[in-house]
Each structure stands twice: as structure tokens, then as C-alpha cells.
């Protein structure tokens, strides 16, 4: 087994275990930490795919900014242990089997998709493709310049929206 493949299995296992821990954990803060594990292992998988820029953004924006926001809100709301509620009979006997079937169906379909054997790291290929980030930024600032600028407006509106919602005046 080659080293990249071994690394893939290690990080994939980390991601799946983190996702399962997110479901199993009863405290929201444990779920948040599990999600950080998932995001970091996904960033490492992006490096394996040759997308270093996306990996860096994943670490900085997701594992850094977004998850700090989540942890901050959990602390602010003093979120304790989750209340247990009974599942409805419908969810138990129809929902769970359907979810499992759907999951395996999608996994099976993707495993046999037409892209199957086309890409990945060829034996002679270098581990890191150096020009990828340069090409990506060129694409981002030429073809996708307008969407890129629009996202800055989106971020601005999101900041305003968050401020308006969180700092609402108390109505008497």
C-alpha cells in the first residue's frame, strides 16, 4: 500500500469517527470538538488531492473562524446536556432503514461512477502540485471576478444581519 493511500485511510477514518462522535455526543461542546476533528482531517484530504489553497482556507475559515463562533455561542448560551426525547414510530421503523439504504445506494453509485479510475496521484507525480494555487487565483480574479466581488457584499450583509438580529432592542 502506497503512502498516500495509507494517509487517505487514516484521515478518512478520522473524519468518519469524528462525524459519528458528533452524533453520539450528548454535550454540544463535544459535538463541536468532534466537528473540528472532521474539518481538520478534511483539510488534510484536500492536501492529498492537491488543493493546498482550499486546505488552508478550510483550516482558517472553517476550523478557525466558524468553529470558534460555534464554541463561543455554546459557551454564551451555557448549553448543557441534550434533552432526550423519544423518536416517533415513523422515524424508528421507516426513517432509519430508509436512511441506511439511501446511504449505501449513494456510496455504491459513487464507487462505480464513470470517474472511477481516472485520477489521483500517479506514481511519478510529485506529492504537491505547485502551480495549482496560482492557477486557482488567476481563475478567481478573471473568470469568476464578479461572483468574487458579490461574495464580499454577501459577507457585509451577513455581518449587518447578525448585528441586527443579535443586538435587537428589548420590546416592552
Amino acid at each position: 500500500m502506497s503512502l498516500p493511500l495509507l494517509l487517505f485511510f487514516v484521515f478518512a477514518l478520522m473524519a468518519v469517527l469524528g462525524a459519528i462522535l458528533l452524533i453520539v455526543a450528548r454535550e454540544p461542546i463535544h459535538s463541536a470538538l468532534a466537528l473540528i476533528v472532521v474539518m481538520v482531517s478534511l483539510a488534510l484530504l484536500y492536501v492529498l488531492l492537491g488543493a493546498e489553497f482550499i486546505a488552508a482556507v478550510q483550516i482558517i475559515v472553517y476550523a478557525g473562524a466558524v468553529m470558534v463562533l460555534f464554541v463561543f455561542v455554546i459557551m454564551l448560551l451555557n448549553a448543557g446536556e441534550e434533552e432526550r426525547t423519544n423518536w416517533s414510530r415513523m422515524a424508528k421503523y421507516v426513517g432509519v432503514p430508509l436512511a441506511v439504504v439511501f446511504l449505501f445506494w449513494v456510496a455504491h453509485w459513487m464507487a462505480h461512477a464513470a470517474v472511477g479510475a481516472t485520477a489521483g496521484y500517479a506514481p511519478g507525480e510529485t506529492f504537491v502540485t505547485p502551480s495549482m494555487t496560482a492557477d486557482l487565483s488567476k481563475l478567481l480574479f478573471t473568470t469568476y471576478l464578479l461572483p468574487f466581488e458579490v461574495t464580499s457584499i454577501l459577507i457585509l450583509i451577513a455581518i449587518l444581519g447578525a448585528l441586527v438580529l443579535a443586538k435587537r432592542e428589548e420590546k416592552s
Binding site: 459519528i20 454540544p28 448560551l77 459513487m110 451577513a158 455581518i159
Partner: protein
């Protein structure tokens, strides 16, 4: 050499786990986190497909998804804060004003 299909299967598994968490968790903040998990799974599929066809557009799309997810998290958590201050509970089943 890693077959691209491995990444797609991992993406499908993570998305499925995100859906399971979304349906089964009762905590508003945790449900929000499962949405982020699903977005991450889709990002992985985007990068893998972009890699498979040698196209960088998939990675540009991932960049936009990350930006939109950050904006969504900021607004969504603000909504969660107001909701929890209003209801004094994080349980999603207490948020039932629109329920018939």
C-alpha cells in the same frame, strides 16, 4: 495513487452522517453543526470531481461554498441566540410556533 471514487464514497458517508445528525439531534446548535458537516462533505466531492477532470472550477466553487457557509453561520447563530433568549431552551421541539 488514490482512486477518486474513494473520496466520493467518503463524501457520501459524511453527508449521510450529517443527515442522520440533522434528523436525530434535538439541540439547535448541534443541528446547525450537522448542516456544516453536510456542506463539508459536498466540498470534498467538489474538490474530488475537480481533481478527476483536471478542472479548477470545482475548487473555485468550494471557495464560494466556504464563504456562503461562513455568512450562513454568522446569521444562523444570531438567530439561534435570539431564539434561545426567547424560549429559554435549546431543544428544537420547544420551537413550535408555526406548528399546527
Amino acid at each position: 495513487m488514490i482512486p477518486i471514487s474513494y473520496f466520493l464514497v467518503l463524501s457520501a458517508i459524511l453527508f449521510g452522517l450529517g443527515v442522520v445528525a440533522f434528523v436525530f439531534k434535538r439541540n439547535i446548535v448541534t443541528i446547525f453543526m450537522s448542516i456544516e458537516l453536510m456542506l463539508n462533505a459536498v466540498n470534498l466531492a467538489f474538490v474530488a470531481f475537480g481533481r478527476a477532470w483536471g478542472q479548477l472550477d470545482g475548487m473555485v466553487f468550494v471557495f464560494f461554498v466556504i464563504v456562503v457557509a461562513a455568512a450562513e453561520a454568522a446569521v444562523g447563530l444570531a438567530i439561534v441566540i435570539t431564539l434561545v433568549q426567547d424560549r429559554q431552551s435549546l431543544n428544537i421541539e420547544r420551537v413550535n410556533r408555526l406548528k399546527l
